[in-house]
Symmetry: C2
Subunit: 189 residues, 2 copies
């Protein structure tokens, strides 16, 4: 791609991007070819980071659209992420911080809105009264369920066996990468 080849590279073909503007003619091929990887341009960690960024944005956009469709306008995609992070468990704020790598005040901000919108229940822990325990309210659970239904549509579009295996690999590889980035951030590369 660009960036030169100074950097450890992941074999891949040059990214074919789907234009998100204009005439709608620049559709990328459905099936990026998996052959010819070996002699294709290489991607750097920066390319990967940009891909993550872009993908996140896309996902947020999707969630936004879905929220609109569901007639929900008191929370946005960021709050939904927190909702998803809570999941079916009962967590403390601290756990949420770890799960999403948020900053404390940030989570507080989201939880306030989620609380105001009645998407979560907050109970002060009896054990440790400093600690707030969070879980989804019925409304929150319902929203998550609705989102899962929407996501189901992807399953149908994305159910090729190989894709799922690749995504599983992707998940693990990314997870390891995330840990390294985290360590680097903490201990200075």
């Amino acid at each position: 791609m660009t960036q030169g080849l100074l950097y450890p590279s992941l074999g891949l073909e040059d990214a074919v991007l789907l234009s998100s503007r204009g005439d709608g003619l620049h559709i990328a091929p459905d099936q990026p070819r998996r052959d010819q990887i070996s002699d294709a341009p290489q991607a750097t960690c920066f390319d990967l980071a940009r891909l993550l960024d872009r993908s996140s944005r896309r996902f947020s956009g999707l969630i936004s659209a879905e929220l609109t469709r569901l007639g929900i306008d008191d929370i946005g995609p960021s709050q939904v992420m927190v909702l998803l992070a809570v999941g079916d468990t009962e967590v403390s704020v601290g756990e949420l911080l770890d799960r999403g790598n948020y900053v404390g005040s940030n989570i507080s901000y989201y939880l306030k809105q989620l609380g105001d919108g009645d998407y979560i229940d907050r109970v002060t822990s009896q054990r440790d009264k400093r600690s707030a325990r969070i879980r989804l309210s019925e409304k929150g659970r319902q929203l998550c369920a609705d989102l899962r239904v929407a996501a189901k549509a992807f399953e149908r579009a994305f159910c090729v066996e190989q894709d799922l295996r690749d995504l599983a690999t992707a998940f693990q590889a990314l997870h390891r990468l995330e840990l390294m980035w985290a360590n680097a951030a903490r201990y200075g590369v």
Copy 2:
């Protein structure tokens, strides 16, 4: 994990998270075990999205730290992402929009700051005077080079052959997923 198993799942072990707060004791093992994947909990697309989100945040953090180290404080990680998107090529604003899936006004905002800081050169295209052509200035190129040097350190920490292959797979899988998300956003699931 949570979310139930209602959703197409990617086999993976339960995420071992690295605490980003507190005593610094909760370090995740260096080498997450690759066995026992088969009978491990499953991750949903939502889990993947959260991972992307988290990873992006981590990467931004890293870039921020690096910028500070380099004594740069007139731009932040978001602007750097744009810089990286420009790369060694000369692009129009429209191309950048596509590359990063940004909104127009957003890119304008970043480019303004990058321009003010002299990280980029902007030339009005002679062909089409509406179109601005962007490329890195010497300063911008230098910054990118510096960042690559910093990133080099990762290479050493992350150079296991298998990891690189996994990341390559991850890149492709994610890229395909991104395209699908983009399509979904455009054509409504």
